[in-house]
């Protein structure tokens, strides 16, 4: 039997497959398609203190091998999450990662405190390109990234993952800043800022004008960043960006990820994360790899 377990900052996942925040809601719908206990972890929709409406629709556009979204963190707020969503997720034998997306440092600290030990890991989203306050502005300057990481870390009772933005000149600077400020793990990438214009109406397809690009189109950028970050920090990495197949998952792990998240693929097929897991097992078995963690960072770079 192949050993699929991996370790993220002391939390053992039974396998390296996670759902990417915002593409899986809080699991209710996707749980009608497979048993969530088959995943290593689930990462829920961004949580804010107050319920958040998000941006006006249309919020999605298809681009070549990718999608743009401008949801803007619509969610029911932390109270709703703790009362209705978390208990439902706890029924599954999988780890729960809470993605927090406060507009201010203080809001993120408060969110981390409120979550306490009720979740297994907290993912601090300093990379949402679709909101005016907070979001990506926290994630593009190493000093600000370090400060928010340090502050939120103090309020965290569980390991803290910092989710990085690809919209930066040098991802390694931000990664190192987060590491030095106390992050326990890093996840990357969030979406690249993009735009699509309807040439008939001359209007942006998204009512927010711009949106976040995800899906296979961004995979080469994501793999490159995972590799760069792997080389410059010692933190475990959750890799994501365009993972559609087991081989894609393997590619991220070979580049340096300890676990991977499946995002856009969930929008295409509800069983996507499970399919990726099964295909990854197939990939390992075919090659006689006994332990998935052998893949991590095993790239034979020139």
């Amino acid at each position: 039997m192949t050993d699929l377990s991996v370790n993220i900052a002391g939390v053992k996942l039974k396998n390296p497959i996670i759902t990417a925040s915002g593409t899986f809601g809080n699991g209710r719908e996707i749980s009608e398609y497979y048993d969530l206990s088959q995943l290593g972890a689930v990462c829920v929709k961004a949580i804010t203190l107050k319920p958040r409406q998000g941006n006006p629709p249309p919020r999605i556009a298809e681009t070549p091998s990718g999608i743009l979204n401008s949801v803007g963190l619509q969610n029911g707020g932390i109270d709703y999450f703790l009362k209705y969503e978390l208990p439902n997720l706890k029924r599954y034998d999988t780890k729960v990662i809470a993605n927090i997306s406060g507009s201010t440092v203080e809001e993120n600290c408060e969110l981390a405190r409120r979550l306490g030990r009720d979740v297994d890991l907290i993912e601090l989203n300093i990379s949402c390109p679709n909101v005016k306050q907070g979001g990506v502005s926290f994630g593009t300057d190493p000093k600000i990234a370090a400060e928010i990481t340090a502050r939120v870390k103090e309020s965290c009772a569980v390991p803290l993952i910092v989710k990085l933005s690809p919209n930066v000149t040098d991802i390694t600077e931000i990664a190192k800043a987060a590491e030095n400020a106390g992050a326990d793990a890093l996840s990357l990438i969030n979406t690249l800022l993009g735009m699509k214009i309807d040439v008939n109406t001359r209007r942006p397809v998204l009512a927010n004008n711009t949106g976040g690009l995800s899906g296979p189109a961004v995979k080469p950028v994501a793999v490159r960043m995972v590799w760069q970050v792997f080389l410059c920090t010692r933190l475990p990495i959750i890799g994501m960006g365009g993972i559609m197949t087991g081989e894609d998952a393997a590619e991220f792990m070979i580049a340096g990820a300890s676990a991977v998240a499946v995002g856009t693929a969930n929008l295409v097929t509800p069983t996507a994360a499970l399919n990726v897991k099964n295909e990854l097992v197939g990939y390992l078995e075919k090659r006689g790899i006994k332990n998935v963690s052998e893949l991590i960072g095993s790239v034979l770079a020139y």
Partner: protein, 250 residues
């Protein structure tokens, strides 16, 4: 557990130059107003939502206009090919609310497709009001005639039936009395007008809305419409909404 279905295309007709009628094998039963979410083929990432036009034991029918890449790719499929289809999805029409008098199904453009199965379910006293741009684009007239007590056809250019908008036809029909409920699907300005007309006359009304979709199952929150000041998911809370609950003004 639910799962995507691999469905065989049993029949495919080209109704007009740009409109295709497909019947696929389908293992589940569906309700009027629900939709399916279809993988269109290589090179198209997201599924495309299509209203269920009709369904029976083991089969399902949908009709679509070719608009962009997705529907173009979909139209390339031939009888015997397979399609990966998710569904039935969403909350359909509430046919319990039809009332005792005449229910009306009202559609314009691609909005008429979900109405056939609905009309059949509402019963023989149903009337249909269907709007087309011009005579050559009229489709499904016979089928609606069969299902309904009366089918009113409007064309924008007067080349067939009543010249004008479906909404004018609706106002007219309501003024004649005994309309108990209205079920509408079509472009946003039409829906807005229908809500106004039915509200003014106190007639129960349901609207089937469209929005660009991602997952189609309620997981990604991209497909929202405003309802009582809040963003609801068209794919899950809808696509059919009680007209009173839909906010059009923003």
């Amino acid at each position: 557990m639910k799962k995507p279905h691999i469905c065989e295309i049993l029949d495919k007709q080209e109704l007009t130059e740009n409109t295709f009628d497909m019947v696929v094998s389908f293992p589940q039963s569906a309700l009027p107003g629900q939709f399916i979410h279809v993988l269109c083929g290589e090179g198209v990432l997201l599924r495309r939502p299509m209203s269920i036009c009709d369904a029976g034991r083991g089969w399902l029918r949908f009709i679509f206009d070719v608009r962009g890449e997705g529907t173009k790719r979909l139209a390339q499929h031939k009888i015997g090919d397979s399609l990966d289809i998710l569904g039935p999805l969403g909350t359909g029409f509430n046919i319990e609310k039809k009332g005792e008098d005449t229910p009306i199904v009202l559609g314009g453009g691609i909005g008429i497709f979900p109405l056939l199965m609905l009309a059949k379910s509402l019963g023989k006293n149903t009337e249909a009001i269907l709007g087309f741009r011009t005579k050559s684009l009229i489709i499904m007239e016979d089928e609606f005639n069969e299902a309904c007590a009366h089918t009113h056809i409007t064309t924008d250019d007067g080349s067939y039936g009543i010249c004008g908008l479906v909404t004018d036809c609706l106002t007219n029909r309501i003024s004649k009395g005994d309309v108990s409920s209205v079920y509408a699907c079509g472009p946003m300005p039409m829906m807005k007008a229908v809500k106004k007309i039915t509200e003014a006359s106190g007639i129960y009304c349901e609207l089937s809305l469209e929005q660009r979709m991602g997952c189609g199952i309620g997981a990604c929150a991209v497909c929202v419409c405003k309802s009582n000041g809040e963003y609801l998911k068209v794919c899950q809370n809808g696509p059919v909404f009680d007209a009173r609950e839909v906010d059009f003004d923003d």
